[in-house]
Symmetry: C2
Subunit: 513 residues, 2 copies
């Protein structure tokens, strides 16, 4: 990020007096004092940074970002040119509005240019970001700054997810997704885990099975993601170095699927007759697997990422147990009364289908816990809040890569500065070899959508997710709460100034207001 | 409210499937099922209501609200005309936009008019709402609806408050206050308890002491309430039947006062010398009382309401204890080591000053608890979360009126449907005579601003505060959670449709989206 070069040593001191009206509830955290960090507003903190005591001015009239002569990628790289333009706007829009630079000439101490030097042979300008993309970058030099990066230089091994399938994509709501991805890039989140369907709604408009959203979405044309909506989101993300990993969660969390796809879900019984309600996907019918095969064939073409998230969490067995046909099937298969075997039976067949599409897959931890046979490149998603370290130990012992989201459920809100709780979590504290630790390829901040929509998503997400961003991107030893507080307060003001209404950490105000 | 007449019996059924991703935290409440309430979207529920099975259409082309011939108030009453216009806009704007009524003629079953009949001799058209205003109203008749009301017909014995002195009032922020009062009216909140200054900032621009905001506000001209800002807010509130009760909290919570007013605060000591920091208002100096006398004289003229809130909460004694002059003063006054006596000494003199201005006063419960001698018309504000019932019992036993806010601290957020917690609270469950119960003149929902600003205020406030609104406005027996959930979900959608981003109660969507 360009602005990272300009960490002015602190001169502005804010005095914040702490008051807490206590009426019998406890606050979740300490109150760090708001001093000035030597790192200014840098967030998240890079692995290495050295602050110069010399302050360089940055003038919109004279400053330019351009491609270094030696760079392997240049003017033809739309992705880079887009990024230059974006950051030029971020940095200079407000000062240009105020007309600050119109009359000024460049001074000798001005920072006049930023040269971008791509050193890798493949600049990945026209491809999608992937898990193997080299995202390391470096700023060096003084007035002439060279920096090396692979594609976009906002790097994180993070997934970001929301449970509520954003219910609609008319113009105003599209803004929600766009804001979301924009702020993700600022906070170095590089994977958008798009939990696009769930029990309440099926907003994904499938070309193969249009009846799914026709009957399963909140509304069949105002509350759906059309193929072109999906394309736009993927492209908007790509330009910011963000992968889009869709999740189509089965066999549970599929109530909305059943509305448009007859016989896909298991009929629940009340005594000897069907109750009229439905349970998880029906694992005993061949039609189920025919459907899944066709459905995921489409998913494979629509979503370019090498991975798809297949879910597999929270399967409720009660409906299966009530159904006499399922009982008979259990008997035939020799599963006894162990319904997790039936679940695994389903998942196993689903995984076999996906394998034929050449997609890699992620699954929620239950699938691993139940002993389903997984491809060696499977990513196991650890989300349960209990026994997190044991689970990480087991998963990595078995040789699987893993993504951790258990400590970062942002939908769990509480009074006070709970960003500190997310910030303190340490993903590598489990017992294991260095090789095992390396299998933890990232973390994910989740904001499930039961209590969230466009009215409250953004301030609930930011800057709380920013705390997760630094935990996962910066050095493990970056843990000073006071320093973090100072930087994060400024970072959140920067987000507000750029149009993302991130909520305040505490009292105080933003200098730009 | 005009729209209350039109409670269409339910025909729209939403199916909501409940899913909760459980990762080790507990949810705060049950999940009510979303059926349809026989009362449609009525919120809060009136004391009496009868739903007609006949549905009347309301056509923007033909419907008019006007003054009944017999009404004691009519076309010259700006307050009423304003309310008619407002509700006409609320009800018909969206349908007119869609051009629904342009081509349609009035049908026989149309509701064609609403006659407003003010029966009280004094319509209070040009005065401010007061605690004695008769706010009862009634809708009767069928096609011709007469309704009686005193002034605005949105009545509640509620105060509404926010701790963070809204730090700024530039155009964009003024919208915050305006939105706040607008939604208050919809939810029958009739008092805006304006906690206008506190430790972090003194945004109130005083004509008498302009240096207070000059030095004590976050910013001396962008983050202040000018006299005309205050006037506009009071008038905007008046048109909606909302009283504005300002709070100038002393002797604690006054850090920001000290920046512009020399010698007002007590210098704290570190050993034998001043530490440079300051504590509560200095109670031993006559200059303190001279200042307060002049300051509250101004407050008296700026704020027309008959009451002012004087605070008196959470006084920290440590600074007083450290100061040798205060120690000497304590000795002279014979207070021993009991610093609450010093606090009461201050408050007592302050109350005497206010009494001369003819304002009534409210105080936080500590002032009562410390045995300060109070005027008989004092309103004691019960806010502490522990021993609420005992406190209410004591306060009313002593004959004072009281406002309860302890169960309704909306700044305490938690995961899940916490509106239910606010909804379940019962303010009159304490032991006491009927006469004592009558002294509980209202309740207050508080949203202290430590973690709130314009980015997240509105969705955090609504519809959680709406739950408090119904608890305090509707009959005590109105407690059915399923019925409330159904109505509140619709009520929140109505707020969103009218431009107030109230957050969702749970999954689902709004019909207007």
């Amino acid at each position: 990020y360009v602005e990272y070069i300009f960490c002015l040593p602190g001169s502005l001191h804010l005095n914040v007096f702490i008051f807490v009206k206590y009426n019998g509830q406890t606050d979740t955290g300490q109150y760090p004092t708001l001093g000035d960090s030597p790192y200014g507003s840098l967030w998240p903190l890079p692995q290495k940074v050295k602050i110069s005591t010399v302050v360089f001015k940055l003038s919109g009239a004279s400053f330019h970002i351009f491609d270094a002569k030696e760079s392997s990628s240049g003017a033809s790289c739309r992705l880079l040119q887009n990024a230059y333009r974006r950051y030029d706007e971020y940095i200079f829009t407000s000062s240009r509005k105020q007309g600050q630079n119109k009359s000024k000439k460049a001074l000798a101490s001005d920072m006049s240019e930023l040269q971008v030097w791509i050193t890798s042979a493949d600049s990945e300008c026209d491809s999608y970001p992937s898990v193997t993309s080299d995202e390391s970058c470096e700023f060096t030099g003084m007035v002439f700054v060279f920096f090396h990066f692979s594609h976009l230089c906002h790097v994180n091994s993070l997934l970001h997810s929301t449970r509520r399938p954003h219910p609609c994509l008319n113009t105003s709501r599209m803004i929600t997704e766009v804001n979301y991805l924009t702020a993700m890039a600022w906070n170095k989140f590089n994977v958008f885990h798009w939990h696009i369907v769930d029990d309440p709604s099926f907003p994904y408009l499938s070309r193969t099975f249009p009846q799914l959203s026709q009957h399963g979405a909140y509304h069949p044309y105002t509350h759906v993601y059309t193929p072109s909506d999906v394309k736009m989101i993927i492209e908007f993300a790509r330009l910011r170095g963000i992968r889009v990993v869709p999740e189509f969660d089965t066999p549970g969390h599929t109530q909305s699927w059943g509305k448009g796809q007859k016989d896909l879900l298991t009929p629940c019984y009340s005594g000897a007759s069907p109750s009229g309600s439905f349970g998880p996907v029906n694992p005993m019918l061949n039609t189920t697997y025919d459907f899944m095969s066709m459905f995921f064939k489409e998913v494979n073409t629509v979503f370019p990422d090498a991975y798809v998230h297949l879910g597999g969490d929270e399967v409720d067995f009660s409906c299966w147990k009530s159904n006499p046909d399922i009982q008979k099937f259990m008997e035939q298969q020799g599963f006894g009364m162990d319904y997790s075997k039936l679940e695994s039976f389903y998942i196993q067949r689903l995984l076999d289908i996906i394998t034929t599409t050449n997609k890699g897959y992620m699954i929620w931890q239950e699938v691993f816990d139940n002993g389903v046979k997984l491809k060696s490149d499977t990513v196991v998603h650890v989300w349960m809040g209990n026994k997190v370290e044991e689970e990480l130990q087991k998963v990595t012992e078995a040789g699987f890569t893993t993504i951790l989201s258990a400590p970062w459920y942002l939908d769990y809100i509480s009074y006070g500065q709970d960003w500190q709780k997310f910030y303190r979590a340490e993903p590598l504290s489990f017992k294991g070899t260095d090789a095992q630790k390396k299998l933890v390829i990232g973390g994910e901040a989740c904001l499930w959508g039961e209590y969230v929509d466009a009215t409250n998503l953004t301030p609930r997400l930011w800057p709380r997710a920013s705390a997760v961003g630094e935990r996962l991107w910066s050095d493990r030893d970056v843990r000073d709460l006071n320093d973090a507080y100072s930087r994060l307060a400024k970072h959140r003001c920067r987000m507000v100034q750029r149009g993302i209404p991130a909520e305040p950490l505490f009292t105080g105000y933003c200098a730009h207001e």
